[in-house]
């Protein structure tokens, strides 16, 4: 599985670059073809689980369709009345349909590129690689890593507090307003314990010699190798190809 073995920083930078490229394209054909290319690459080189992929992709499709619909319905009156596209029994001006389509496909493209990254990258490896390749300061990187460990702990804690308050008879909230007030009541115990935990973790890290200094060695080394350039080249190929076809079609 080639995408998983890729250097995470290279992958991230490539994806950001192509999102910027896409922002400069205003016709629908390039994003459509490139979208197909991205999904193709995701499945061929990433072996991503189809069901899971569709589940995560679905909200983006709904969002994109909504975007499409609003931008054609609220479009300006057409400059050339003959140049219209007709569907659902309504005439729409061709140019606004095309712009709406371009916009929609751009959203889907950004979604597909992000999912490609998310489904093939280990978060911890990404942070470690950012430290090694992109000069992310260790203070921030290890802060994020420690926080990442905290998330499930906070979730468990929230559940516990919910139960504990219920026992004291305060959680019989029915209305939205009451529920909101209940949540406000959770904030203090949750924050108090989170701050205490964070402080303890910081002390423990420091007593293991962590100073935030950039000069440190790494157990998991991330290097940029030749194979890492295949991915940007592959994507660039797809993009150029889409772009050329779009020009051909006109």
């Amino acid at each position: 599985m080639f995408l998983q073995r890729l250097n995470p920083s290279v992958k991230a930078v490539t994806i950001i670059v192509f999102i910027i490229f896409l922002a400069m394209i205003f016709e629908p054909v390039t994003p459509l073809l490139f979208l197909m290319w991205t999904i193709f690459v995701t499945f061929i080189f990433g072996k991503v689980d189809v069901k899971k992929y569709l589940l995560y992709f679905a909200p983006f499709i709904i969002f994109a369709l909504g975007m499409f619909w609003t931008s054609i319905v609220f479009a300006d009156t057409p400059n050339h009345p003959d140049d219209a596209i007709r569907f659902f029994g309504i005439d729409f001006p061709k140019e606004s349909v095309l712009t709406a389509l371009a916009l929609t496909l751009r959203i889907l493209n950004v979604a597909a590129l992000s999912l490609l990254f998310v489904f093939t990258t280990n978060t911890v490896h990404f942070i470690l690689s950012m430290m090694q390749q992109l000069k992310l300061p260790p203070k921030i990187a290890y802060g994020v890593l420690a926080g990442y460990r905290f998330l499930p702990m906070l979730k468990d804690e929230l559940k516990l507090i919910h139960d504990a308050h219920r026992i004291r008879g305060v959680n019989q909230a029915k209305t939205v307003k009451e529920k909101w007030q209940n949540y406000k009541r959770y904030v203090i115990p949750l924050l108090a314990s989170a701050i205490r935990k964070a402080e303890r973790t910081a002390m423990a890290m420091e007593s293991k010699g962590f100073t935030g200094d950039k000069h440190r060695s790494f157990y998991r080394q991330f290097k940029i190798q030749k194979q890492d350039f295949i991915f940007p080249v592959l994507m660039l190929f797809g993009f150029m190809f889409s772009y050329l076809i779009a020009i051909q079609i006109g």
Binding site: I167, R168, K197, R200, K208, R216
Partner: protein, 553 residues
């Protein structure tokens, strides 16, 4: 002579505090020496840890006077992070010592900090994990480890850095008795194998006495009031120890209760075995007789509970009668907590029914149910709702139509019982650990529920507040309440419970009186991760000895 650790006239005061945490602390430690540092909570033990490992004064908000030198170098003259090569600390809370996700990454983290070349790391990680017998968990996720394993991992992380001084800051306070035993045994083994100085910070002495002979004792003001052999202090200053809230080993407590003037009290079961002395045997109360026609208080009928595909409880049937003090014991992850949540009506069983006063829990109105059944969580903070201690207690009266001044009287009475009257305007979160625990008890005293469930209420608390808690609980029991308590503490079961239920793999493995449980054969108890309480062990040894004497003479 040049000592390895040299602390001279160390005084420390935090910003916003009037009093010193530590005052004029002086001691030295030779390299490779072991010492027990004892003191009650709030005596500045952890502060001293931070002074020794070089985090203070650099990170201190407050003032520090005096000198702390390690290997001849004063703390103020070292670069940040430099000290971690000489001094390593294992902290109290197993949950918050890690910043990585897997075991190997966590051990590597310390090595990375001090710039060990990557090619050497693998070997040092393996070595460190080998020392604590966790090599087969090298790639495991830290979140899946038990508390005991986490503490051993914390130890491995420190050992990988090969420190000359190891500080253990109440390392077993958040572990159950079995994991505690295992951790202490690991330290003992390492002490024989490797050469490092050791400072064990504790307020309880059980288990540690044969690791170190020397003890340094701190009082509540943060002053050293004793520095010398541990046996002498138990003999000479026993009352002062108790006043300061330092706990002599349970074995010693039991023996000295009967023989208060003994010259050389035993500190461990092994020592007692060599020289048995008479101890009192607690005659356990007979289990509450189930009146035939009386309706049981709480009844669970064939209940099962599963989360997703994971079965947690299988087909459990239990009956609880009025006035019982039931202990629930068993290995970690066997479903004890889940069972208690079901019994309290916080979760619905997947199968089966639970009846309270003969009426299914499902049919109870939530507000009525909460007046019948109380639940005490491990962490008292979770249950606090209001912003002052007074309101917190008064909250329990809101259902009852009581006149203002009567309510005030009642709240003040409960606060007085729990020793919190002077603090009635304080915020619950600003209290000390023991006070928080007492407040959580106060809230349930005023709620006056007839059934109270407790989920390891003594876990992670200091011994002093545990004693206070148990006093309040047994008073409540005498007043006629029914208590169901999850605990790992065999001595608590022995002393207070009238009935004990052992849960193993989601099933009831035993349901009997404590006295009967201790008669179960050793191998079986071990399988349930239980052991005989100290009092039973001692009286068994004594009886055996007497038998031996009577048969030989």
């Amino acid at each position: 002579m040049n000592a390895f650790v040299h602390v001279e006239e160390l005084s420390l005061r935090y910003e916003m505090h009037k009093k010193n945490v530590l005052s004029s602390v002086n001691f030295t430690l030779n390299s490779g020496e072991s010492v027990l540092l004892l003191g009650p909570s709030g005596s500045g033990k952890s502060t001293l840890t931070f002074c020794l490992n070089g985090i203070f004064p650099r990170e201190l908000d407050g003032e520090m006077e005096g000198q702390v030198s390690i290997n001849g170098i004063e703390n103020r003259n070292i670069k940040p992070g430099e000290r971690s090569k000489q001094v390593g600390v294992v902290f109290q809370d197993p949950e918050t010592q890690f910043c990585m996700l897997t075991v190997e990454d966590e051990v590597a983290f310390g090595l990375e900090n001090i710039g060990i070349p990557p090619q050497e790391m693998e070997e040092r990680i393996d070595y460190a994990l080998e020392l604590v017998q966790m090599k087969d968990l090298k790639t495991a996720d830290i979140a899946t480890l038990s508390g005991g394993q986490k503490q051993k991992l914390a130890l491995a992380c420190i050992l990988a850095l090969e420190p000359e001084l190891l500080i253990l800051d109440e390392p077993t306070a958040n572990l159950d008795p079995l994991a505690t035993k295992d951790f202490i045994a690991t330290i003992k083994k390492l002490k024989n194998k490797l050469d490092f100085g050791l400072i064990v910070i504790e307020h309880k002495l059980d288990g540690w006495t044969d690791i170190a002979e020397r003890a340094i004792l701190l009082n509540r003001q943060g002053e050293i009031f004793y520095d010398g052999p541990i046996r002498d202090v138990i003999r000479v200053k026993r009352t002062q120890l108790l006043e300061e809230g330092i706990w002599v080993p349970r074995v010693t407590q039991h023996v000295m209760r009967e023989n208060p003037h003994i010259e050389n009290p035993p500190l461990t079961v092994e020592e007692y075995r060599q020289n048995p002395l008479p101890v009192v045997k607690r005659i356990s109360e007979p289990p509450v007789p189930a009146e035939n026609n009386a309706m049981p208080l709480l009844e669970a009928e064939n209940i099962s509970w599963s989360v997703g595909n994971h079965d947690i409880l299988h087909n459990i049937s239990l009956t609880f009668h009025r006035g019982e003090f039931v202990a629930i014991a068993g290995p970690n992850g066997s479903g004890k907590t889940s069972l208690s949540r079901l019994l309290a009506g916080l979760r619905q069983p997947t199968k089966g029914d639970i009846y309270l006063h003969g009426k299914p829990l499902k049919q109870w109105k939530e507000s009525m149910l909460r007046q019948e059944v109380g639940y005490v969580f491990q962490n008292p903070e979770h249950q606090f709702i209001t912003h002052t201690v007074y309101d917190e207690v008064a909250f329990g009266l809101r259902w009852k139509e009581i006149a203002e001044d009567q309510a005030r009287e009642k709240v003040e009475e409960v606060l007085k019982t729990c020793g919190l009257l002077d603090l009635s305007h304080a915020h619950p979160f600003s209290l000390s650990q023991g006070q928080k625990r007492r407040l959580s008890v106060a809230t349930m005293l005023i709620d006056d529920q007839s059934l109270l469930l407790l989920d390891e209420p003594t876990f992670g608390q200091d011994a002093h507040s545990n004693q206070e808690l148990m006093n309040l609980l047994s008073k409540k029991h005498q007043d006629g309440a029914t208590l169901i308590m999850i605990t790992h503490d065999m001595d608590l079961i022995h002393e207070y419970a009238t009935r004990v239920i052992v849960i193993k793999d989601g099933k009831v493995a035993a349901d009997c009186s404590p006295a009967e449980l201790w008669k179960v054969e050793q191998g079986c108890l071990e399988k349930w991760q239980l052991e005989q309480p100290i009092a039973v062990q001692l009286s068994n040894i004594y009886e055996k000895e007497m038998e031996y004497v009577s048969t030989t003479t």
